[in-house]
């Protein structure tokens, strides 16, 4: 069943973006992190907090009831606030819910926020499901992806150096992003040092720190009524969410799920993979950029490593992959990550990304995967 896109019935735009830099865990409260991002997004949009009709807070680690004690410090206006948890895709899902709310006509201006602070563990529910497994305890997320890397590299005769070049590129992009947790250019030798699991090294694994990201989402009515600058409003033309279905034994679920969600998003937008100028991808581990480039149809199976080497996925290439630095360099504070991707895509489509600007960017995608497994994909277009 394919319903007509709710986003074409009542168009939805991102009109403001704001971030608190991603950083190592500090004494700063989540309230302070979140308010920094929301205030910046409101200023960027040129709207007041009293103009906001509803708020969604994406967070996976803070615990219940995070929103009001934070957002009421902008003024206790009594608007509906809802906390959204979808593992690593929590922020992406807060954007999805905010888009749905504006498209439905219930609201004209909605804030989607992501904020988190790291804890000792992730506290993931699947481990509490009471389904014992042989590998319990020995396979943590980076080893899951190290095993996917092993299979992919063997199948396509790809070397450690080729996978590491993804991280070299994304660290270089992150060095140009003042909101990135890691802002250092790294050589191939540096990236290849410090093995963690299989071929993955420390600099091919994302840092999990703290931070915040916020976007203001508005309808055309809201834009007109509040006199928002239309030239800086970027349209959301697809919002797709899927969970893992039952695939054939041994099929890599992360890539299969990404392929299905990406297809749904391209169909909703009426666009093709070749239309993308910018793609913020879930590169928690370097191998993922190669897997998802192929799953999303940006290149043929087995081609992604040579496309990275050729510079095709660089800023200035045919499609800039993770110009923000991606999860590898910008960082992965969990709740903020998916919202931060949307902020980067908007900045790129506006042409305001400064030294990391992809020339003539008109269409961009944000892609997140979360434990469970869930996948959330948004496509944005410059009107």
């Amino acid at each position: 069943m394919t319903a007509p896109s709710f986003l074409s019935t009542r168009p939805v735009f991102i009109v403001g973006i704001g971030l608190h830099r991603y950083q190592r865990r500090s004494d700063q409260t989540y309230v302070s992190l979140g308010l920094t991002a929301v205030r910046e997004a409101l200023t960027d949009a040129g709207v007041n907090w009293t103009d906001v009709d509803a708020a969604y807070t994406g967070t996976a680690l803070l615990g219940m009831g995070a929103s009001r004690i934070m957002l009421s410090r902008l003024g206790a206006t009594g608007i509906p606030m809802t906390q959204v948890e979808n593992a690593s895709a929590s922020g992406s899902s807060s954007v999805a819910q905010a888009c749905l709310e504006v498209a439905s006509g219930r609201s004209d201006v909605v804030v989607a926020l992501g904020v988190d602070k790291p804890r000792g563990g992730l506290g993931a529910a699947p481990g509490e499901a009471g389904i014992p497994n042989l590998e319990a305890g020995s396979i943590v997320p980076f080893t899951h992806f190290a095993l996917l890397a092993s299979e992919y590299m063997n199948l396509h005769a790809v070397t450690d150096e080729q996978v590491a070049k993804v991280a070299v590129k994304n660290h270089r992009n992150g060095s140009q992003n003042p909101f990135a947790q890691r802002q250092k250019v790294r050589t191939l030798d540096e990236v290849l040092a410090e093995p963690i699991s299989g071929s993955l090294t420390r600099l091919q694994c994302c840092p999990v720190g703290e931070g915040a990201a916020a976007v203001i989402i508005a309808s055309e009515d809201g834009i007109d009524r509040l006199g928002i600058d239309r030239s800086r409003a970027m349209q959301v033309v697809a919002s797709a969410t899927k969970t893992e279905a039952l695939y054939a034994e041994g099929v890599g679920i992360d890539a299969a799920l990404t392929a299905e969600t990406g297809t749904a998003a391209f169909e909703e937008a009426g666009l093709e993979p070749s239309d993308l100028d910018v793609l913020e991808v879930h590169d928690a581990f370097a191998i993922e950029e190669l897997l998802y480039a192929e799953a999303l149809g940006l290149c043929k199976p087995g081609e992604a490593a040579t496309r990275v080497e050729s510079g095709d996925f660089d800023i200035g290439g045919s499609c800039a992959f993770s110009p923000s630095g991606g999860l590898l360099a910008m960082g992965h504070p969990i709740g903020p990550t998916g919202v931060g991707q949307i902020a980067e895509v908007v900045r790129q489509l506006r042409g305001e990304a400064g030294p990391r600007q992809q020339p003539n960017a008109r269409v961009g995608m944000a892609h997140m995967v979360g434990i469970g497994a869930v996948c959330v994909v948004h496509i944005l277009r410059k009107p």
């Binding site: 590998e135 020995s138 095993l147």
Partner: protein, 131 residues
């Protein structure tokens, strides 16, 4: 001296060891591990499952040596693999020996992992190159 499996519901302590999976009587899907809730293919509740013995033999689809680990056990370095069992399901497990590569034929064996105060030995399934 008694011997007990670390995961008693997942293994039969025979030689060679047997991995216990499940088969859904409604849709005939064979899967690992056994599941106390229901079938991911057809939605049947798990009282419609039967235990299904799987030979601990298969081929390696992926392998990785872990150098850093968030937990006290296993002690690093150790090597894990994705193994496609001859009976269909794919499992992940620790493998022993430097000679395991993608495509290797491997077999399961019971490795002692721990001994409690009463002398009870805890064993777990590991894989090695087929002898």
């Amino acid at each position: 001296m008694t011997t007990e499996a670390r995961h008693p519901h997942l293994l039969k302590l025979v030689d060679p060891p047997i991995i216990v999976g499940h088969r859904c009587i409604s849709c005939e899907r064979i899967a690992f591990p056994p599941d106390p809730y229901g079938c991911e293919k057809c939605g049947s509740p798990s009282d419609n499952f039967e235990n299904w013995d799987l030979e601990a033999r298969g081929s390696v689809r992926a392998v990785a040596t872990v150098h850093r680990h968030h937990r006290p056990a296993p002690i690093t370095p150790f090597t894990v693999a994705v193994i496609e069992l001859v009976g269909g399901p794919v499992v992940k497990a620790i493998v022993e020996g430097d000679d395991v590569v993608v495509g290797s034929s491997v077999e399961g064996f019971l490795a002692p992992e721990d001994k409690d105060d009463a002398g009870k030995v805890i064993v777990d399934l590991r894989f090695r190159i087929t002898q």
